[in-house]
C-alpha cells in the first residue's frame, strides 16, 4: 500500500493557551514495500505523524492517502486503516496486560474477529517471526526479561499481519546485541513479506543501514529526503537539525582525506566497506 501525504497539518488543543502546531504543510510519499526511516529531533512531529498514518487521530487539515483509503479531518475510514497498519510504539512492553504470552499476542487477532484456529495460527506465526521459543507461550509476560517482553509486544502487533508496519524507536533501552538482533528481524520480515516498514529513530546508524529512503523532519515539516547516500551528503544541513552522520560515513570521510580517488559515501555497512577496500587493494597489487 502506497502512502501519499498532502499538505498535512496537525494542531494540538486548538483555541487554548496550550495550542501547539505539531505538523505544518507536510508532504511525503512512501512507496509500497519500501523500508523508510523518519529522522528528527524530539518535538519535530514524528510521533504525531505516525499516529495520523495509523488512523489513531484525525488531522487538523490535509490528506493522507493509504492505498485506496483517504484520511482527512472528518474521514470515517480511520477504523478501516487501522486493520492494515500496525504500530509498535515506544517501549511497547508497557502495553502488555494478559496472563500469558500467547493470550497477549492473541489480543489483536481476536479483536479482528478471527476464528480460534486462525488466532492460534497467527500467534504461532508471530512468535516465530520475532524468534520467541514456543515454551514461553504459557509464561506470564511480566516474568520475562526486557528484551523478551519487547519481542512479545512486537509479536502482538505482527499477529495482526499488517501491510504497513510502523516502529517508533523500537530499540530504545535495548543492549547493542538485542538492538541489532531486533532490527535484523524486522529487515528480514520486510524482505520476505514485502511489508512496508516505517522506522522512526534517532539513531543514524540504524537508519543508514536498514532504510532505503530517509525523511528528515524538523519543526513539523519534511526538510530533507532521499536515499541514505543523498541525505548524508548534506552534512551542513543535518547539523542544522541537530542530527549526526552515521559512524561509518564519518569513518569514510576521514579516510577520504588521505586517499584518492575517494571511497563512495553511499556505503553503509562494514561488509561493503571491507569488500570495496579489498577490491581496491587487488587493483593496486595487480598493477
Amino acid at each position: 500500500m502506497e502512502i501519499v501525504i498532502k499538505n498535512l497539518n496537525h494542531i494540538y488543543m486548538p483555541g487554548t493557551p496550550f495550542e501547539r502546531q505539531a505538523l505544518q504543510d507536510l508532504n511525503m510519499q512512501i512507496s509500497s514495500g519500501s523500508f523508510v526511516a523518519i529522522l528528527g529531533q524530539t518535538g519535530s512531529g514524528k510521533s504525531t505523524l505516525i499516529q495520523l498514518i495509523a488512523g489513531l487521530m484525525s488531522p487538523t487539515s490535509g490528506n493522507i492517502q493509504i492505498g485506496s483509503y483517504h484520511l482527512t479531518p472528518n474521514s470515517k475510514e480511520r477504523l478501516a486503516v487501522r486493520k492494515h497498519v500496525g504500530v509498535v510504539f515506544q517501549y511497547p512492553e508497557h502495553q502488555l496486560f494478559e496472563e500469558t504470552v500467547v493470550k497477549d499476542i492473541a489480543f489483536g487477532p481476536r479483536n479482528q474477529g478471527l476464528s480460534e484456529k486462525e488466532v492460534t495460527e497467527r500467534v504461532q506465526m508471530a512468535m516465530e517471526m520475532v524468534g520467541l521459543s514456543p515454551e514461553l507461550g504459557d509464561r506470564s509476560p511480566f516474568q520475562l526479561s526486557g528484551g523478551q517482553m519487547r519481542r512479545v509486544a512486537i509479536a502482538g502487533v505482527l499477529a495482526l499481519s499488517p501491510e504497513i508496519l510502523i516502529l517508533d524507536e523500537p530499540t530504545a533501552g535495548l543492549d547493542p546485541h538485542g538492538k541489532s538482533e531486533l532490527l535484523n528481524t524486522i529487515s528480514k520480515l520486510h524482505k520476505e513479506r514485502q511489508m512496508t516498514v516505517i522506522l522512526v529513530t534517532h539513531d543514524m546508524n540504524d537508519a543508514a543501514r536498514f532504510a532505503d529512503y530517509l525523511f528528515v523532519l524538523a519543526r513539523g515539516t519534511c526538510e530533507l529526503e532521499g536515499t541514505p547516500g543523498d541525505v548524508f551528503k548534506e552534512q551542513d544541513h543535518l547539523v542544522q537539525f541537530a542530527l549526526d552522520l552515521p559512524d561509518i560515513t564519518r569513518l569514510i570521510n576521514q579516510l577520504n582525506r588521505q586517499i584518492h580517488p575517494p571511497i563512495p559515501t553511499n556505503i553503509f555497512s562494514m561488509n561493503e566497506l571491507e569488500n570495496h577496500l579489498i577490491e581496491r587493494l587487488k587493483k593496486v597489487v595487480s598493477l
Partner: protein
Amino acid sequence: MNQLVIGQYVPGRSLIHQLDPRAKLAFVFAYMILVFFANNIASYGLLLFFSACTIYLSQIPLRIFSASLKPILFLILVMILFHLFLTKGGQVLFHFSFLTIYEEGVRQAVFISLRLILLVLTASLLTFTTSPMDLTDGLENMLHPFTRFGLPAHEFALMMSIALRFIPTIWDETEKIKKAQMARGADFESGHIFRRVKSYIPVLIPLFISAFRRAEDLALAMEARCYRGGINRTKLRELHFSTKDLGLVIIFAFLVLGICLLRE
C-alpha cells in the same frame, strides 16, 4: 496532552494569579460558605456579578470556564427537573394531568443551579490561577499550626503535590496505552456499558503496573537524595502576603455586608 484536564493550572500574570495562595484558599473557602446564604435574586445577583468580575480579572478565556462546567451539566439538569416537578408552594404556574409546576419549584430550580454553578466556577478559578506547587505550599502553611496535635502537615502536602504532579503524567500514559491498544483493534466506543467497562481492562492493567513502577522509581530517587520530610526543612520560595491580599479581606467584608442587606 491533547485535552484540557479539569482543574488544570492555566499559567498567567493576572492580578488573581499574583495573589498569595493562602489568601486565595481562605477566601474561596469563606466565599463558598457565603454562597449558601444567598436566597433571593438580589443576593445571587451580587455574587454572580462578583464572580464575573473575578473571571474577567483572571484573563482566562471564558471557553475554559465553560468547559469546567460541562461535567456538572447533567447534575444541574437533574436538580432542575426534581425541583420543577416535586417542590410545592406558591402559585401554580402550569398544570397538565399529573404534572404541576409551582412558583416555588421554579425559584428553587433556578437558585440551586445558580449555587452549583457559582461553587464550581469559584473552585475552577482557584485551580486555574494557582499552580499546584503554590496550592500545596499554601495548604501546608495553613495546616502547620495543627502539627502540634499530631497532624503530619508536611507529609500531607507532599502527598497532595505528588498526586497533583502525576495527574497529567498518568493522563498522558493512559492516552498512549489506549492508542497502542486501539492500534491492536481494541474498541472503546461501541457496545453497552458493561462491554465498554470491560474493554478498558487492557488499558487499566498496564496503567497500574506503570503507576507502581513510577512510585518505586520516585521513592528511590527521593531516598537517593536523602529526602527526609517534616522538621526543619526550609523552602526555596517563601510565601509572602502583600497589600493585594489584604484587599481580599476588605472585599470579603463588603460581600458579607452586601449579602446580609440583600437576603430576605
